[in-house]
Amino acid sequence: MNIVEMRSVTKRYVAGEHTLNALDGVNLDLEEGKFIVVLGQSGAGKSTLLNLLGGLDSPTEGKIIVDGQDISKLTRDQLAEYRASKVGFVFQFYNLIPTLTVLENVALVKEIAPNALDPKKILEEVGLSDHLNNFPSELSGGEQQRVSIARAIAKNPKILLCDEPTGALDSETGVVVLKLLLSMAKNYGKTIVIVTHNQNIAKMADVVIRVRSGKITSLEENQTPTAVEDIEW
């Protein structure tokens, strides 16, 4: 079953006389429960793709259906509701609320997500039960990213969207985080989309999508994904 269906999706940015097609007539189907990696150079349109999927932005043209819901024409509030219930985000720079503790950063999703999971349990699973009352500034980058993953999972979303989740981490920590991300997604049965320019991550994926100049140039299914620990970084 497809969790995502994109039909002729175009995202156009107009600045003065210049028009930039960040995405240009993209058609894409993503199957539920898969681990998908989107690869591309800087400016290829991969982040735009992720932002549209995540309801951070709306397409100029075309239709995007996520979990049976057409999100391309939603209002601001409907998009907020969509983000609250269907998607979890993990960013390169974690984006935690600095004035909330680790536990509070995760627990805040309970105020908006209808099916939120127990924040404490999730934090335990990501190995942060000793840091529940620490503020983000008291944690290392890897720990902060783990909080961010816990927050994304705690919403109990259909799909996890990750934008360069290891981009700000050293390779060793990056591996730990990726491993965690994958195991969490697997345990909770989440579809996971990672946007990156790191070719190595693609080796782990079920599906690898390559993007260039706003178009999808290839979509490969990887029959034998490599385990994280077997990849050379």
Binding site: S47, N51, G54, L56, D57, R76, D77, A80, E81, Y82, R83, A84, S85, F89, F91, F93, Y94, N95, L96, I97, P98, T99, L100, E104, A107, L108, V109, E111, I112, A113, N133, F135, S137, E138, R151, K155, A168
Partner: protein, 790 residues
């Protein structure tokens, strides 16, 4: 190149720059406005009084001074100029108005400035020089005939000129009248010749002699001290006399009082605005340099010298200071002009020909210091960012690590919602911003409570005084007729009082130590005259002691039960009385009942039997017109002047209109202050939490939920600000009343409307600004916001 950056940066932070400029403009405008007001008032009044030869001393003898008395006094060493002088209230024929009929023998003492018409002629037999404001209000033109009657003299002449005199700079009938009423009261100067002719007409062959004893006053220009002139005068004239220095005249002392008020306001009000302006500058310049830290680092890395970079950032503060000061200068002139122009607030009180505005040098110096100080703040802000190496400067600013709040130890903390926690921590994390917001709210509230409370206090006092305390319809003045003995005058007064069922009073000028105070002896029959206690309650005049007004009680440190001694002017009599209570009064006075006065004795003679006990007013409940139809009025009318209660109350209307206008201006200032400070800080808070709000949006929070979080924080601060501001406002009002205690005996009163309006307005300002800022949520670009590094 850096100039271009300066201009573009200003464009980028326009909300902050505009708000700082507005705050500085307001601060400097209010500072200059009030201080220029009292300085200009001082210079203009001093010039006017000197131009019209305002007398330094008034030597008074009700039995009159002869020509030889004047000669003896003129010969006294230290007396520069002296003139026999008379000023009595005369009725204007054909109207219900009164004019101060004034004659000075020497035009170099207690004279006037000619505004239009013919020069004064001291030999004119029919020339009358009339107060221009009275003429204007009563449509009297140069060349019009005018007749005034005083006792049974009648002076008829022609208005030759329109004038303004320093002696009548504050043109009130007597001390009980707070505000001038140019419609019903003015003054007219005539020549000694005209006065003499009128006296001769009445007394025939004895006229010359009567005229020689007509002048009850000699006005003197002299640099001598009061004790020196008293001693020298008494030696020259051989008797004890009432000598009033210029400080004891209404015109001089009230004008000085106005200056004091200006000084007080110039000291208190600008502090609120300037303090907020400086604090806004500190927080905003800090934020600006924090935001620009990497740019500062880049410039440093490029090889730009520290001095140049700090000059660049310091120039922002200088720019703001200079622009704010220039606008403040304009506002200051406007505020000063608003209060000090012939048709403005002061013009209804003080009348003088010139209303020039002066900017004192020390005000300019203070403004320069403020600009210097603001520039220093700018310099210190950038200096902090410049410290260390270029690579240090290149690193983004790292705020202090966040620590747990004390309240988090409480178990209840975990029960709080995420929003509450977020807001609480944000408040404590950005203490300076929270503090500034609070200061802005308190400032707004203080101004509102102060302005509205001032109105409540003034109207409350006037209403209580003239509606509840003074219940008479008409006050009848009995003129002091040289022909009648005290006993005869008092007999008339008793007759009028008994036939009209009125209360009556005798005002005796007495001293406790030096300064003259009015000892008012009241005969209360119907109780149309009442008294206001120190806690603003209506009280009866005690029969076992004196009611001492609050200023006198304070000056002489009197307590209930204390005894003190007064001595009527021009006598050696001494009366010792006991303090029975305190009252709030318009003028400095001691009030006693006639019963109690009877028990006061000097050398075995009761005060009421003394020659100084002359009843001069009867207060009746009949209105002026009804009174005029009575038999009793007909039989004594020559010696009577009537003033209706409504005339007095009406004279406050103009004053109240202007007070209301001033209050509206203060309310506008309060709202501007609130909006500017809150908006500036709101935008700052929004910018600082931009990334956090973007995260919340990504996570799935609605715009309105985020907006609610922002507004909630604002409302918390507003609740605290309103509570503190309310008490601070009442405090400021009380301080103002203490500072003005030498002039008024008002008690701070706050009506329910003041509470409601000031609280609602402050909440309204906070809510509107909160909505304005939270509306920006919709514009948060989640994608952009979350891209950058932490």
């Amino acid at each position: 190149m850096l100039l271009k950056k300066l201009i573009r940066t200003i464009g980028r932070y326009k909300a902050q720059f505009i708000s700082m400029i507005i705050m500085i403009t307001l601060g400097i405008g209010v500072f200059l406005g009030f201080n220029m007001e009292w300085v200009s008032l001082n210079k203009n009044t001093e010039k006017f009084l000197s131009d019209t030869h305002f007398a330094d001393y008034r030597i008074v003898n009700e039995n009159g001074f002869s020509k030889s008395d004047l000669e003896k006094l003129s010969a006294v060493e230290g007396v520069d100029k002296a003139s026999r002088y008379i000023s009595v209230n005369a009725e204007v024929k054909g109207t219900a108005n009164t004019l101060g009929l004034t004659v000075t023998e020497n035009r170099e003492v207690s004279f006037f400035t000619l505004m239009s018409g013919d020069e004064y002629d001291s030999t004119s037999e029919d020339g009358m020089w009339l107060f221009d404001k009275y003429a204007q209000r009563n449509n009297v033109k140069i060349g019009d005939p005018l007749t005034v009657t005083y006792k049974d003299f009648e002076l008829t002449g022609t208005v030759r000129g329109l004038i303004e005199s320093g002696e009548y700079m504050i043109c009130v009938r007597d001390e009980t009248q707070l505000m001038p009423d140019f419609n019903t009261y003015g003054y007219v100067y005539v020549s000694p010749v005209m006065l003499k002719n009128a006296v001769i007409k009445k007394y025939g062959v004895f006229g010359e002699m009567a005229y020689d004893k007509l002048y009850p006053q000699i006005n003197v220009l002299s640099d001598l001290s009061k004790s020196q002139i008293t001693e020298k005068t008494e030696r020259a004239l051989g008797k004890t006399l009432l000598i009033l220095s210029k400080n004891e005249t209404i015109s001089y002392s009230e004008a000085k009082g106005e200056e004091e008020e200006g000084k007080t306001m110039g000291l208190v009000l600008p502090v609120v605005f300037l303090a907020i302006a400086v604090l806004t500058m500190v927080t905003t310049m800090h934020r600006l340099t924090v935001n620009e830290k990497t740019q500062i680092g880049t410039l440093k890395a490029l090889g730009v010298k520290d001095g140049k970079i700090s000059a660049h950032y310091t120039s922002y503060a200088l720019f703001i200071g200079v622009i704010g000061s220039l606008l403040g200068l304009g506002l200051g002139y406007f505020v000063c002009w608003f209060m000090l122009n012939p048709d403005g607030m002061m013009g209804t009180y003080i009348v003088m020909p010139e209303w020039k505005l002066y900017l004192p040098w020390w005000c300019a110096l203070v403004v320069a210091l403020i600009v210097g100080f603001l520039t220093l703040i700018g310099y210190l802000s950038v200096k902090k960012m410049l410290s260390g190496t270029a690579s240090d400067a290149l690193r983004p600013y790292t705020p202090k690590k966040f620590k747990n709040l004390l309240i988090e130890k409480n178990k209840l903390w975990n029960k709080l919602s995420f929003g509450t926690k977020w807001n609480l921590r944000d408040l404590f994390r950005h203490k300076s911003r929270s503090f500034m917001t609070l200061i802005g709210l308190i400032g707004c509230m203080v101004l509102l409570v102060g302005a509205l409370g001032m109105n409540d206090t003034a109207t409350g006092f006037i209403n209580v005084f003239y509606q509840d305390v003074m219940n008479y319809e008409t006050r009848i003045y009995l003129s002091s007729d040289g022909d009648k003995t005290t006993q005869e005058t008092n007999a008339v007064a008793y007759d009028i009082a008994s036939k009209t069922n009125g209360d009556y009073s005798a005002s005796i000028s007495v001293t406790v130590t030096d300064e003259p105070i009015s000892l008012d002896v009241y005969g209360i029959r119907s109780g149309v005259v009442g008294f206001l206690s120190d806690d603003s309650k209506l009280i009866k005049l005690p029969t076992d002691g004196a009611l001492v007004c609050m200023r006198v009680a304070k000056d002489y440190n009197l307590k209930i039960g204390d005894e003190f001694t007064v001595s009527p002017y021009g006598t050696s009599e001494k009366y010792t009385m006991k303090v029975a209570g305190f009252n709030r009064s318009l003028s400095k006075s001691i009030s006693v009942s006639e019963e109690y006065a009877k028990t006061l004795q000097s050398d075995g003679v009761s005060l009421t039997d003394s020659s100084v006990y002359r009843i001069n007013s009867v207060y009746v409940s009949a209105d002026k017109e009804t009174l005029k139809t009575t038999e009793v009025y007909a039989s004594y009318k020559d010696g009577l002047t009537l003033q209706s209660h409504s005339d007095i109350v009406k004279s406050f209307e103009g004053f109240m209109d202007i007070l209301n206008l001033a209050i509206v201006v203060l309310i506008v200032f309060a709202v501007v202050l609130g909006v500017v400070v809150l908006y500036n800080l709101g935008v700052m808070s929004y910018t600082e939490r931009y990334r956090e709000m973007a995260t919340l949006k990504v996570v799935g929070f609605y715009d309105k939920q985020i907006g609610k979080l922002l507004i909630t924080q604002n409302l918390w601060l507003t609740v605290v600000g309103v509570a503190i501001g309310l008490f601070a406002g009442i405090g400021v009002l009380n301080v103002l009343m203490i500072m003005l205690a030498s002039e008024y005996e008002m008690q701070v009163v706050l009506g329910p409307i003041t509470y409601v309006v000031s609280i609602l307005l402050t909440f309204g300002v906070s809510l509107i600004v909160g909505l304005m800022v939270s509306a920006k949520n919709k514009k948060i670009n989640m994608v952009e916001a979350l891209k950058g590094a932490e």
